[in-house]
Each structure stands twice: as C-alpha cells, then as structure tokens.
C-alpha cells in the first residue's frame, strides 16, 4: 500500500488539534514575530492516525517474528514497562522541581543504581549517559579525568579490531589515539599482541566481553592485570552484558568502567533507533570522577548533586539527569525477572544461540570452533562458488518472514553472518528459523542465484539504491515545482 508524505496530504488551514481560542493579548516579541508561514502541512486527526498506522505496517518488529540481528539483542519488550513509565507522578515530573517533591524519582534511580552495582560488583555508577556510545564517552572521560588528576597525560587506547565502531570513535572523540589490537585465530584478543602494545603511554583499553564474535574473552583477567600493571584502565564495552548478567560480575574480572545498554540487557524498547540509556558502572579508582548530576543520600532523604565547584566530577554529559523513562522501564524489567530470572535469561540467551549454532553448523560454516555465548557467528565459506553474497543471503530471509541477521560484522570474519536469538525465542520458533536458514543455504548451493539477487520480493519496497541516495542526497521534502510556481 502506497502512502504519500504528510506534506503531500496538506490542506491549508486544516488541523488535527482543537485548541482554545487565544485570549486577547499584547504581543511582546520585540518585533521578532514570524513573518512567513513555516510550511507545515494541515491534516485532520483521522488522516494522521491512518498515515502513521500505515507507516508502521511497513516495519518489521520483534512483536512479529524472530529478529536475529546479532550484536543488537532484539528481545521482547514487556508492555508492563510501558505502562509504569507513563504513571502520573513519574512521567509528569519536571527535571528542575524542588528536590523535596521528587523523592520517589530519586529513590527509583537509586534503586536501579543499586541493582546495576550489585549485578556488576562495582561500587559506583554514572546514570546520566543517554545511550551506549554516550556511556563509552562517559567511561573514557572518567578514565582520562582520573589520569589527569594524577597529572598523567597518556595518549593511547588499545582497541581490538573486532570492536564496535563506537569504541574507536569514542576514544578519538576524547582525544585519544586508537591503537588496534588484532584478534587471534580463536576470535579473541591476541594476548601476546596486546601485551606487546602496552606501555606507560597507554591510558587504557576498550574491550567488549563477551566480544563481538559472540565469544567470552577467556584471558580477560590477564588482560585486566596487564593493563593495570602499566597504570592503565580497563574499559569494558558492556553491550553484551546480556549474555552473562547474573552469572559473571565484571567487577570480578578487573573492569574499571563498563556501560550497560539498558535496551539490550534490560529490555527497554529499541524504538526504531533510540532512545537508549547507557549507565556506566565504575571501580573505586574511577568513582570520584563520575559526572554530574548524581543522586546522594542526604539528611532529609535523597538529594541530587548538580554542582561540584572545585570537586573531582569530570563535568556534565546531558541536559538533565539521564534517561529517566528508560530507568523506569529497566527497573520494572529487573524487578520482574529478579535475581533468579536474570540469571535464567542470560543462560537461555546463550542456550538459544548455541542451539542455532548446533542446528546450522553442518550447513553454514561457523567462524570459530566450539560453543558460543549469546550469538552465533558464521563466515561465508558455505557460499563459496555460489555467486550468492552474504548480503543476498541475508536479504532472502526477509521473504521468509524474518529480519536479516547482522551481516559483515564483526569485520574480522569474512562475509560474517551474526545471529542473536535472545532468550525470548521459543524452541519451536528456533526450529522453524533453523529450517528456513538451512533451506536457503541449500537453495544457494543448488545454484539459484537469481532468487537471492532479487530478494526480497514481498516487501513494500525491494532493494533500494543506496548509492543514488548518497550521491544525490534528498534529505527533505520540497514542494513540486509547478506548485511553487503557482504560489
């Protein structure tokens, strides 16, 4: 079903919102009143509802089927969390109300912080980062602040080649030089190479664990010891904390700072690309440098520390306190699962990934031998000689009713296919998924290249010309020329 843009449904003067008449008033705009119309379209409420309903129907979502997007953790988003996030007394709080009127809100943040600290065995947490990458920024800034406080202006951060792109981007954004560390043949950080790069100018390392190959870094404690030995800090990218929550506490591995993607581990919705939330747990060494604002326990209850003139807090990252709406959802999820449930969830996530790995290992080609953590990684060897690419293969999943798996990531594996089922898929659902992937692989091997090149066939749009979009960017709607001329 074709759906035009809202701008193409415009009728002058129409609005989908009835507002009270504007009382007579003097204008106090100092001559700065807008002289021209904004150019917004006028629609009625039924049209707006229909427009966005139809747009929504062009999307794939977790609510529809397995969304095996590796490294993205597309798990079930409970509606209870949406409900509690909208409670009056939470959703309608202003960030600058008197502290005496928001004791419940501060208590909520504090309760979530308590869970995050306990689950990671870390003594502190910075709650304000707005997303995973923002958490990385927070973590690296904390490390830099701690080093600067010692007068130690180190320059290098070691980042594995398999890292998410945000890791090097973050390190660079904080003024660090990124020094890549190769992976070994087991898909882990090459410990020897890592150690070889260490030195007094190394501020720290950013390591994802479990890593982006879906593997636990079994040398992790050695790595932590080594970086500490040269006076550097260990930043752990916590994107994959969902694989180990309730089973491994990063604090026990020597981590100094780690962000937690609340949308990945604690089920806050991805929302088509945000909002996220990325609290950062911190070791005792780093805790004093955590950014403002943060919740404290004062004599009259909870307090919010917003200023730290002359103190050690490294600064401020965000307009207000953090992603409260996401905190509410995450806490609701955490309380629902509880200590036992979170542990079961991480275990089931790993079990589900290994079930896929076991089901597909003879048809596809696993990138590494052995079991995996929460995601199963394959290379494209199984497509050799078929003229079907990883991209073609993944796009063909769409016609089968699935979202494609992650492709070409991590970069260290050729033609990578990364599948993360999460714990919220059933065995029946995985069995069907495995059958579909197998069927496609057999079809590819049978030489049916055209099927894959053309896929998907049954979507509102087939493959889109990304090159054209980048070469001749059209980034906003413009009125058609005739209409412009007529006006």
């Amino acid at each position: 079903i074709e759906e035009p843009l809202i701008f193409e449904q415009d009728a002058s003067g129409r609005t989908a919102v009835d507002l009270p008449a504007v009382p007579e008033h003097q204008e106090r705009l100092g001559g700065l009143k807008r002289k021209q119309a904004v150019g917004l379209p006028g629609l009625s409420e039924p049209q707006v509802v229909r427009h966005y309903t139809k747009l929504s129907q062009k999307n794939f979502a977790i609510d529809m089927n397995v969304y095996p997007l590796g490294s993205c953790t597309m798990k079930h988003n409970p509606r209870l969390n949406e409900k509690v996030a909208r409670l009056p007394g939470i959703a309608d709080l202003h960030p600058l109300q008197p502290i005496s009127t928001v004791q419940g809100a501060l208590a909520l943040i504090d309760r979530l912080a308590h869970w995050l600290k306990t689950l990671t065995n870390m003594p502190a947490v910075a709650m304000s980062p707005a997303a995973g990458a923002h958490g990385e920024l927070c973590g690296i800034m904390t490390i830099r602040a701690a080093l600067l406080a010692k007068g130690d202006a180190r320059k290098r951060i070691l980042v594995p080649e398999s890292a998410h792109g945000t890791n090097p981007a973050t390190a660079a954004a904080c003024g660090y030089e990124v020094d890549p560390v190769p992976a070994d043949e087991r898909g882990r950080v090459d410990l020897a190479a890592f150690k070889a790069k260490l030195g007094p100018d190394v501020a720290g390392t950013m390591i994802t664990n479990p890593n982006t190959c879906g593997l636990f870094e079994n040398d992790i404690i050695d790595i932590a010891d080594a970086i500490h030995a040269v006076g550097g800090y260990f930043y752990c990218d916590g994107a994959n904390f969902n694989a180990i929550v309730g089973r491994v506490r990063p604090g026990d591995l020597g981590v100094d700072a780690m962000h937690i993607n609340l949308h990945k581990t604690f089920s806050t919705p991805h929302g088509g690309g945000g909002p996220g939330a990325g609290p950062v747990v911190l070791s005792a060494a780093l805790a004093p440098y955590a950014p403002l604002p943060y919740v404290t326990h004062g004599p009259n209850g909870f307090d919010l520390k917003e200023q730290d003139e002359g103190g050690t807090a490294f600064g401020r990252l965000k307009g207000f306190h953090g992603q409260m709406g996401m905190f509410t959802r995450a806490l609701s999820y955490i309380l629902s699962h509880g200590s036992d449930g979170l542990r079961q969830a991480s275990g089931d996530a790993v079990l589900n990934a290994n079930y896929i790995l076991a089901g597909l290992k003879d048809t596809l080609t696993p990138a590494f031998p052995g079991t995996c953590m929460h995601e199963a990684l394959f290379n494209d060897d199984f497509l050799q000689g078929t003229d079907v690419t990883t991209l073609d293969f993944a796009k063909a999943m769409i016609d089968e009713g699935y979202h494609p798996m992650t492709m070409y990531f991590p970069l260290v594996v050729h033609g990578a296919l990364l599948m993360e089922p999460t714990e919220t898929e059933s065995k029946d659902g995985l069995d069907r998924y495995i059958e579909v992937v197998k069927g496609l692989a057999e079809r590819a091997k049978a030489g049916n290249t055209a099927y894959f090149e053309g896929a998907p066939y049954h979507t509102p749009r087939r493959r889109l010309d990304e090159t054209l979009a980048a070469r001749q960017p059209i980034l906003k709607w413009k009125p058609p020329v005739e209409k412009q001329a007529a006006e």
Binding site: R34, G89, L93, T101, V248, E466
Partner: protein, 449 residues
C-alpha cells in the same frame, strides 16, 4: 518467568542437541573464580506484575507531579498537552519494537517518518537540512560546536551567558577532553552582553540561545553578520521549540547551525529524559553534520523509497574518523515529535504558540502587580524572569509546600551568585489555567509577605 518461553524439557532437548550437559557448561570460557554458581543472593527473586506495579506506583506516590498541581516550570523543559493519538501511535509494536532502520526493505515506516521529521525540523528552524535527531538539546549543541570546529578548523567557541548553563557545561566538558577553548561573559538577564568583543581569529563559533535562558527574545541578525565577517559560525540553540511557531526562525537571522530541544512536542517531561535533540544546518555543511540521515531514493522497481544515507560520516563505517561517536539517536521521541507536529500542522502550531505567549503575558502582568515581584524582561515567548524580594529557592520551596510548582530559581542553574539569587524563571504554557494563575498569585503574595 513470564518472558522466557523455554521450558525445562525444551532446555534438556536443546542441551542434548548441542552436546553439553548444562547451561553452566556453556560458560566454560569464564575464569572459574569469576563464575557465579547461583543467583546473586543479595537481590530479590522474580515478581509478578501485581507486585512490580505496586512498587513502581509507590515511587510515583512520593512525587508531586506537574499534572496534579499548578506548575510553571521551564528552563529547558516544558509541560505541554500531548494529544492521545501520539501516545497510541508510538506504542504500536511495529514502531516500538523495531531496530534502527539499517535494512530499508523492512523499515520503510521508520525511514519515511524520519524523512518527514527532518523536513519538519528544517522548516521550523528555517534551515536547509536537518538530521534524524540526537540525544537532547544539550548534546546537539555540543555536537554543533564540534562541527563548527571541524568546518572552520578553529578551536575556540564563544558562548553567550544566556545559554542554558547545562548546555554550557556539556560543551565545557567536551572542550576539556578534546582540547578546544570556550569563553563566555557573565549571565546578563536583562541583556547587553557583547559577544563580538570575545571573537578573535581562533573563534570557530558563537553559541547563543533563542529565546535565551531568561526568556529574552533577541535578534541575532547582526551578530550573524559580524560572526561571518570574522570567519566564525553562529550556532543558535532553542530550548522551547514551540516558540518557533511564532518567532522568526534562526535561519532567517543567518544562523549556520540551529540546535534545539524537541521535548515540547510529543514528549512528556519525564524528569529530564529521554528527550530529542534537533539539529539543522546549511546544505554546504551537510557532510560535516553528525547524526543519522534518512534520504530519498528509488528501489529496484523504480519506486520512491527511503534509506539511511551518508553513513560514511558515521562511526560504524569511519570508526575513529567519524563525525561523532553517536550511534543511537532518539527515534521514538522523534516519532512522538513528528506525530504531534503533524497533528498540529501550520494552523495548530501557530495557535498553540500564540496560546503560550498569551498565557505568559497574562501571568507576567498578574505577577508583576504583586509587591516584591519585578518583571525583568520586556520581550519573551512563554517564559520570563522575575526578581523577587526574597531568595527564589526558598520561595519555590515554600510554594511547593502549598502544592504549587512556582518556577525554577535561577540559583538552581547558577548557584552561589548573589546577584542571581532572587531571580525566578516562570513559564506558562497552554496547560496553565486561570485557576492555576490565581493560585500562584495568592500563594506568592503569602510567601513574599
């Protein structure tokens, strides 16, 4: 455990297929001393909806919500009425539980609304092009300064004293770590700052707020001209986006980058987040713009469609050379924004803006008639500054005891400055009733007595 579909017998069958005896054995790579053998005992076990809702409700009950009392808070976050349609639509699973639209064939819905959002933001700000949202107004503004640094290859930002101090602090934090300088005059509630005096050949940009944090509506046309003459860019930050329904857009004043907080449209106050940062600029700076972009293209059958584009600027391609480390945007908040604005349309936005202005104007007149209250500024949108005869923080606390959220004391934003201590920021939106105004008036008289 209601969110987990596997049964014990499923787990047994799956482990058998994998060829391991237990889930624990899948964690063999974890150093044994770090592997927990049982649930963490200090934390409580799972609970049902009934118990969880009760606990969350208990948190809510300890707060005074702005919807349950007369409230006049602004300073970068505004209570507005959000139509019921918005909240229904953003909760549809196809939006709520979808990922970043990297696979355009199955995310045309998200991509199309982002394209509409970008168009709306460009139109509102009077700019050529806008991105698909950022974390919030403060982070957008901070990204704008970095972008100006990249464009001008200069490393000094001149920041108005009228910029929201939280925005200022976010920029200052990044400046400290990435090595650029910022200079700024003291806050001047009644205007009169001379920013050009601080501009030199190293200056990449001037950052101003519109209306400024005190509510003052200022014309930046000449400042833009002077900045451009000095080779610097003008960045205009807007914390109340609805103001642009009534005010000349920054683009018309010559702004090079406009950043804004989009919370006022479609998004609840939510104690500070998640919000939605807006970011717009000139076509010529497009490739230096951070953040995600939805672009129009055609599909294999020649039909119009949308994709994420120009991603070569982004971290997942450029890694340490990216324009920004930002990966997630504020998709669902942007959706709420764009739906609310679609509902309003040209006529609705205009009327909404006028209602806000009229409410503030009427409130300002009522309050300035009270002994001990002095209006500080003469031109404002929906927020203004008054000087009280007592320290504003205590007045606000006293009003809160009477269940009135009377405004934001300037000392909350700039503590420890005696000259600002008695200043109060007061906002009035379309949600404020005559009764609310009367309640504030009465209570303020009592408190100031």
């Amino acid at each position: 455990m209601r969110y987990l579909p596997l049964t014990e017998s499923d787990r047994r069958a799956m482990l058998a297929k994998i060829g391991v005896p237990s889930i624990d054995s899948l964690y063999a790579d974890v150093p044994p001393k770090a592997l927990l053998k049982a649930p963490i005992a200090e934390l409580p076990n799972h609970q049902g909806e009934i118990e969880v809702e009760r606990q969350m409700q208990a948190f809510a009950n300890q707060n005074l919500g702005t919807a349950s009392c007369p409230s006049f808070l602004g300073a970068g976050a505004y209570r507005h009425h959000v139509p019921a349609t918005v909240d229904y639509l953003i909760q549809r699973g196809e939006f709520l539980t979808s990922y970043t639209p990297y696979q355009p064939e199955v995310t045309q819905g998200t991509l199309q609304y982002l394209f509409e959002f970008q168009t709306q933001v460009a139109l509102l700000t009077g700019m050529d092009v806008a991105n698909a949202s950022m974390y919030d107004g403060a982070s957008s503004t901070c990204e704008a300064v970095q972008m100006a640094n990249r464009i001008t290859r200069r490393k000094k930002a001149v920041i108005s004293g009228g910029l929201h101090p939280h925005y200022h602090e976010v920029i200052a934090t990044l400046a400290k770590f990435t090595g650029f300088d910022i200079v700024s005059p003291q806050p001047a509630p009644q205007g009169g700052e001379d920013l050009m005096a601080m501009v030199d050949k190293d200056t990449s940009c001037i950052v101003v707020q519109y209306p400024d944090v005190f509510g003052h509506v200022r014309d930046y046309t000449k400042l833009a001209e002077a900045a451009h003459a000095a080779g610097a860019l003008l960045i205009v930050a807007v914390t109340e986006i609805i103001s642009l329904g009534l005010l000349t857009p920054p683009g018309e004043m010559g702004a090079d980058i406009v950043t804004a907080e989009g919370q006022s449209l479609g998004n609840p106050l939510g104690f500070g987040g998640p919000y939605v940062g807006l970011f717009a600029t000139r076509d010529k700076y497009l490739r230096q713009m951070p953040g995600r972009l939805a672009g129009q293209t055609v599909d294999a059958e020649g039909r119009r469609g949308w994709v994420l584009t120009l991603s070569t600027r982004e971290q997942h391609i450029r890694r340490e050379k990216a324009t920004s480390n930002i990966c997630t945007n504020s998709g669902l908040c942007a959706l709420a924004f764009t739906i609310h604005l679609s509902l309003l349309g040209e006529a609705g936005l205009r009327q909404l803006a006028e209602l806000n202005h009229a409410a503030a104007w009427r409130l300002a007149d009522r309050l300035s008639a009270i002994d001990g209250v002095e209006l500080q500024i003469a031109q404002f949108f929906n927020e203004f500054t008054v000087k009280l005869s007592k320290p504003a923080a205590q007045v606000v606390e006293d009003l809160a005891q009477r269940r009135i959220l009377g405004g934001v004391p300037v000392s909350r934003l700039w503590p420890g400055r005696p000259e600002l201590e008695n200043l109060l920021l007061v906002a009035a939106t379309e949600t404020v009733t005559d009764d609310d105004m009367a309640a504030l008036e009465t209570a303020l008289k009592e408190v100031l007595r």
